[in-house]
């Protein structure tokens, strides 16, 4: 699935936007001008990585400081232990598109339970 995110010109460097797909995906524009897309939800608990601290190619979760590599999705240290999915990004005619991965997402237990219709 290829989804349009926003115009590259509308996403300043150092910023991120969250796309309301299920599960949400966030798109980051790094200070170096690269664009990456990863799952927005931290694999530890329900936090939005688009709200996190972006530095270089890493985003630090806004709650408990696990850092995810935007290129690989890998996490550096607990409390999060699982990587996030990465998604392919295409910029065409000034527009950012995200090709959502078909792998299974690593959602935190509280979020998977909610999606499954269980208790939040």
């Amino acid at each position: 699935m290829m989804i349009p995110a926003c115009r590259l010109a509308d996403l300043p460097r150092g910023e991120a936007i969250r796309l309301d797909v299920e599960p949400p995906v966030s798109v980051f524009h790094t200070d170096d001008g690269e664009v990456f897309a990863i799952d927005d939800t931290c694999t530890h608990q329900d936090a939005s990585l688009a709200d996190g601290w972006l530095e270089g190619c890493e985003v630090e979760c806004p709650l408990h400081a696990s850092k995810f590599d935007l290129r690989t999705g890998a996490v550096d240290a607990p409390p999060a232990k699982l990587p996030v999915r990465t998604h392919e990004v295409v910029v065409e005619d000034g527009m950012i598109y995200v090709k959502v991965s078909t792998e299974a997402p690593n959602l935190p237990p509280c979020v998977s339970a909610r999606l499954a219709g269980g208790p939040a």
């Binding site: 936090a47 939005s48 688009a50 709200d51 996190g52 601290w53 806004p62 709650l63 408990h64 400081a65 240290a77 607990p78 409390p79 232990k81």
Partner: protein, 387 residues
């Protein structure tokens, strides 16, 4: 350097061991810890673990397949550091000789004098504390929490969600006034009363009553608060008494430079037991927060490996979070010395707040309640503003 001994096998100790390997240290690495457990995460002990939502396996701090090529001496306490022999003495009589030492012995919960041996009275610092408290909470009843700080508040919140009848007693007129200041302390601790948890402030505890098991908390104003379970949450003290006489300067923990070095060559300290010089604050600060225990060891280990002072850079402002009654509380910076606090977003009554602390107009700290996005922005600004 051929041998490094890390004393304390929790977050800061593990993080130091990781930093050593990451920074290319290839020698012998010995990690000494007095608890029998592999390093585990403490924040969930007052939250999800106490609530029974996550189990012991979820607390493990090491990742699958992680191998630091370390010798783990667990369940054994360090009793002394011999600077001349360059050795750590252990309670079981062993001695570990090393060239470099990382002190990561953390802090221990303060207890109430005279409460030892009285059933139903708990502190919360270790996994074993949490297991014991979790079992008691499962039986329900009236819980009295002594101390309205973060740990006390989290326990109250978790117990409230489990259906217990909860009272929180705070000696100061306002809970959390130390870390947050009086105004914001009032707003955050308002979470208790929002949920029908009783909050008694400005009154000290005289003692506990009960024969073999606690049955009430006695207040200094003469009141008696019946209790089936009591949690004492009156802070923690750094575990450094084992270093007395070693030559390591102690002052509210191990006194350290901005790079983590202690007064003894080849000895650095990290985490809750360490009183680092903070160039931002222009003073030594002992910070008892998770993120510092995770991040600071990289600097201290660089100092150790370099054999002296290194250019440590200005650290990020201290940061912590707390979860109470479903509200995410985040704080960064130092509130002491702030001359104003303004709510920049949200409303105190909704417990949805982004507040900025300033000194002479410059932001020095920021508090968020359910405001992670704005909080991160302000936290960054704070780091930039005072670096």
């Amino acid at each position: 350097m051929r041998t490094v001994a890390v004393v304390g096998a929790s977050l800061a100790g593990l993080s130091a061991a990781r930093s050593l390997r990451k920074q290319g240290y290839d020698g012998r690495l010995v990690v000494i810890g007095d608890e029998p457990h592999r390093p585990y995460d403490r924040p969930p002990l007052s939250k999800e673990f106490l609530a029974g939502e996550v189990g012991e396996a979820d607390l493990v701090l090491e990742t699958d397949g992680e191998d630091l090529r370390a010798e783990w001496l667990l369940g054994t306490r360090a009793t002394g550091l011999d600077a001349r022999e360059r050795a750590v003495r252990l309670a079981d009589g062993r001695e570990i000789r090393a060239d470099g030492f990382v002190i990561a012995t953390g802090a221990a919960a303060r207890r109430l004098p005279g409460s030892d041996g009285l059933a139903g009275v708990h502190v919360l610092r270790t996994l074993d504390d949490a297991l014991a408290l979790r079992d008691e909470l499962a039986r329900g009843g009236r819980l009295v929490v002594i101390g309205g700080g973060f740990i006390g508040a989290e326990v109250a919140s978790t117990a409230y969600a489990l259906g217990l009848d909860v009272t929180v007693i705070e000696a100061a007129p306002t809970p959390l006034a130390g870390p947050l200041g009086a105004d914001m302390g009032t707003i955050v601790s308002g979470l208790h009363t929002d949920h029908g948890v009783r909050l008694l402030c400005g009154v000290g505890v005289k003692g506990l009553s009960g024969e073999s098991r606690v049955d009430a908390v006695l207040l200094e104003d003469g009141r008696t608060i019946p209790a089936d379970i009591v949690v004492v949450g009156v802070g923690a003290r750094p575990c450094v008494e084992w270093l007395e006489g070693s030559g390591v300067t102690l002052d509210n923990g191990v006194k350290c430079g901005a790079d983590g070095r202690s007064s003894l060559a080849g000895v650095v300290a990290v985490g809750d037991c360490a009183n680092w010089y903070d160039p931002r604050a222009g003073a030594h600060r002992r910070v008892e927060h998770w993120t510092g225990a995770l991040e600071r060891p990289a600097v201290a280990v660089a100092t150790l490996l370099a054999g002296g002072a290194v250019e440590s850079g200005v650290p990020r402002p201290p940061y912590f979070w707390s979860d109470q009654y479903g509200v995410k509380i985040q704080f960064a910076g130092h509130s002491v010395g702030a001359d104003s606090v303004t709510i920049e977003e949200g409303a105190a009554d909704d417990r949805n707040v982004l507040a900025v602390y300033r000194r002479a107009g410059e932001p020095v700290a920021v508090l968020g309640m359910n405001q992670p996005r704005l909080f991160t922005r302000w936290r960054k600004q704070l780091a930039a503003a005072t670096s």
